[in-house]
């Protein structure tokens, strides 16, 4: 009832950035302190992961730089610590800080790639399913149902086994990330497909789609040019939450022994390795990567939370 649309001619042309800063979404963002902190944490983590080769004191992936004689040095502030290893070293003599920075890179890479893979696959199938409907829809949704019977962990276990079987001469260091991406992504696509299908079924009955059809534009183009941009809102939210979930899943898989190789550890692999040293007093090997992981995932989840509410038009 408070339809406050201004006359088009009155709206002075504002810069894009100015408009973003002026927008309600940006405002709700600034107002929520938790969200701002989460965003800052996420940004710091992502940037430092990206810049790991330049800011990390050591290169934990370069075996020639690792000396086992430095193994299990405690973090600064404890007895027998070494100033060149701020957060101590693990059982191989890897600098924990560098390991965490590089590990974050891998974790984020697996997270982003698998989310991207799942999103692309899910969005495509969801769009087709929702737009075309009928038998195509039925088939895709049945596939989705079968897919749901295999939870992420099962899929990853199986796919990892298969990858090893099929590509026997597998260079794990190079391929592990892709295998993980594939298996985690494969277990996530259903969620996107279902969401996109739902929104597509709503959108396709909207009149702008009919208008495009009346113009004569082919379905394929309508789907991607018209419908797709309009169903991306919820997808963005799912993607954020899934990013966090994918990182955790990767960590869990490394516990089951199908994660990335220990020579190029992700955060999850670091925790898995550190797990063995919890009782023996070398707590920093597990706790520091654990903290990093928890903070990262927590921050991303909080962002997702906020986005879910902020992007939901019904809640404004």
């Amino acid at each position: 009832m408070t339809d406050q649309t201004t006359r088009p001619e009155d709206v002075a042309e504002k810069g894009r950035i100015a408009r973003i800063i002026d927008s309600d979404i940006f405002h709700s963002f600034i107002r929520s302190k938790v969200t701002v902190i989460a965003a800052i944490v996420t940004a710091i983590f992502m940037i430092s992961a990206l810049l790991a080769p330049w800011i990390a004191p050591h290169n934990p992936f370069d075996l020639a730089q690792i000396s086992i004689l430095d193994a299990r040095v405690p973090p600064i502030g404890m007895d027998a610590s070494d100033p060149s290893f701020l957060l101590g070293t693990d059982d191989q003599g890897r600098d924990m800080l560098s390991g965490i920075l590089y590990g974050m890179r891998i974790s984020l890479a697996v997270g982003f790639l698998s989310v991207a893979f799942a999103a692309v696959l899910g969005i495509f199938l969801g769009l087709v399913s929702g737009y075309v409907g009928g038998r195509t829809d039925a088939i895709i949704m049945r596939i989705a149902e079968v897919q749901l019977t295999f939870p992420a962990i099962l899929i990853a276990l199986l796919i990892d086994g298969i990858a090893n079987g099929v590509f026997g001469n597998l260079d794990r260091e190079r391929w592990a990330v892709w295998i993980l991406t594939f298996s985690i992504g494969l277990s996530f696509w259903v969620q996107y497909a279902r969401t996109v299908r739902g929104s597509t079924m709503v959108e396709k009955n909207k009149e702008y789609v009919q208008a495009a059809r009346v113009i004569g534009i082919p379905s394929f183009i309508i789907m991607f040019r018209h419908v797709l941009p309009n169903v991306m809102g919820p997808v963005l939210v799912i993607a954020t939450i899934n990013l966090a979930l994918a990182i955790i899943t990767e960590a869990t898989l490394s516990f089951l022994g199908v994660g990335v190789p220990a020579t190029q550890p992700s955060l999850g692999t670091l925790i898995r390795i550190g797990n063995d040293f919890l009782f023996s007093g070398e707590w920093w090997i597990a706790i520091f990567p654990g903290l990093a992981l928890a903070m990262l995932v927590l921050a991303v989840n909080l962002l997702g939370d906020w986005m879910r509410d902020a992007l939901n038009p019904k809640l404004r």
């Binding site: 090893n164 992981l293 989840n301």
Partner: protein
């Protein structure tokens, strides 16, 4: 209603068949079972002979047909490692997993639903924000790590709760064992159930919250307010019931994934359930167990789906009449 259920059942059978087919095709690649069945000194000829006797050299389609024929009679063959019928092995492990899943689902529901309702109704309160943030910790650390930390604190340090196993179990009838009837059995359930349920609890809480927020903005809630109904009645009779349909869908799916996630929890707590059995089977390429487990998971999932569909009908009167009417 009958037609509806029978349609779902037909679909369930199809789904299970597909699961069987996919999993069977995959097993070919997970490793060579023979290495796990014999000692390291066994000669290549002996290994080959064993492979032949197991029918592992037959074309995959023959093996699959054999599997399906057996599965139809609930015969999933003998475990390679245990030399026992798989159906029996899984049958013995089923109660452990189901009890654990049940308790953790209860935990997730009984903690998650009230917290979800509260945070949904009091969107801007400080406690809501606290609930939301704290609950996220459950999804911010990998399950196995949470499990180990719990063991570290409650078993090793405080020595309050056992670190592994089911405690003493009581046999009920010929085929069920329960940990519910003994003190040690109940104590043994606590840590694994929390570890397993934490994730689902967070999910359910957030889901209920989101649905509550939406339902609270609907016209019928506004109308209920305009009629002067007390908030208790609005929140619980009108709002909560209306959030149930989506919540049931997701919760149903989550129940399925609880059973899958039990693999991790059971490994950490040495819980003698199916998940542990499956993980050992994967490590030892025990194909019959893997196949039967996947079939069972599929079956449980399909059953839950069916139950969810029926529950919809119970909750939502619109679905009841649309089938007979129109």
């Amino acid at each position: 209603m009958f037609g509806f259920i029978s349609r779902r059942l037909v679909m369930a059978v199809v789904v299970m068949f597909v699961v069987a087919l996919i999993s069977f095709t995959l097993f070919r690649f997970v490793g060579d079972p023979i290495n796990q069945m014999v000692g390291i000194e066994t000669t290549p000829e002996q290994r080959e002979a064993l492979r032949e006797r197991l029918g592992l050299n037959d074309p995959i389609i023959v093996q699959f047909a054999r599997f399906i024929m057996g599965a139809l009679q609930f015969d999933f063959g003998n475990s390679y490692q245990f030399k026992q019928p798989v159906a029996e092995l899984i049958g013995k492990r089923l109660p452990a997993t189901l009890e654990l899943s049940f308790v953790s689902a209860l935990f997730a529901l009984f903690v998650g639903v009230p917290m979800g309702v509260y945070t949904g109704l009091n969107r801007h309160s400080a406690i809501s924000k606290l609930f939301l943030s704290v609950s996220l910790i459950g999804v911010s650390l990998p399950t196995f790590f949470i499990g180990i930390l719990l063991i570290f604190v409650f078993s090793v340090h405080l020595q309050w709760l056992p670190s592994f196993g089911r405690g003493d179990v009581v046999a009920l009838g010929g085929w069920w064992t329960t940990g519910f009837l003994t003190v040690s059995g109940l104590k043994a359930l606590i840590l694994p159930a929390i570890t397993l349920g934490l994730f689902q609890m967070t999910l359910i809480m957030r889901l209920i919250r989101a649905e509550m927020l939406e339902v609270m903005r609907t016209d019928y809630i506004k109308f209920a307010r305009a009629r002067g109904l007390p908030s208790r009645s609005i929140n619980f009779i009108h709002a909560l019931k209306n959030t149930m349909v989506p919540v049931i869908t997701i919760t149903g799916l989550q129940l399925g994934s609880i059973i899958a996630f039990a693999i991790i929890t059971e490994t950490v707590f040495q819980w003698p359930g199916m998940g542990l059995l499956f993980l050992q089977a994967v490590q030892n390429v025990d194909i019959p167990i893997m196949a039967a487990y996947l079939m069972l998971t599929a079956f449980i999932f399909v059953t839950i789906n069916l139950a969810v569909d029926i529950l919809y009908v119970v909750i939502d009167p619109r679905l009841r009449t649309e089938r007979s009417g129109l």
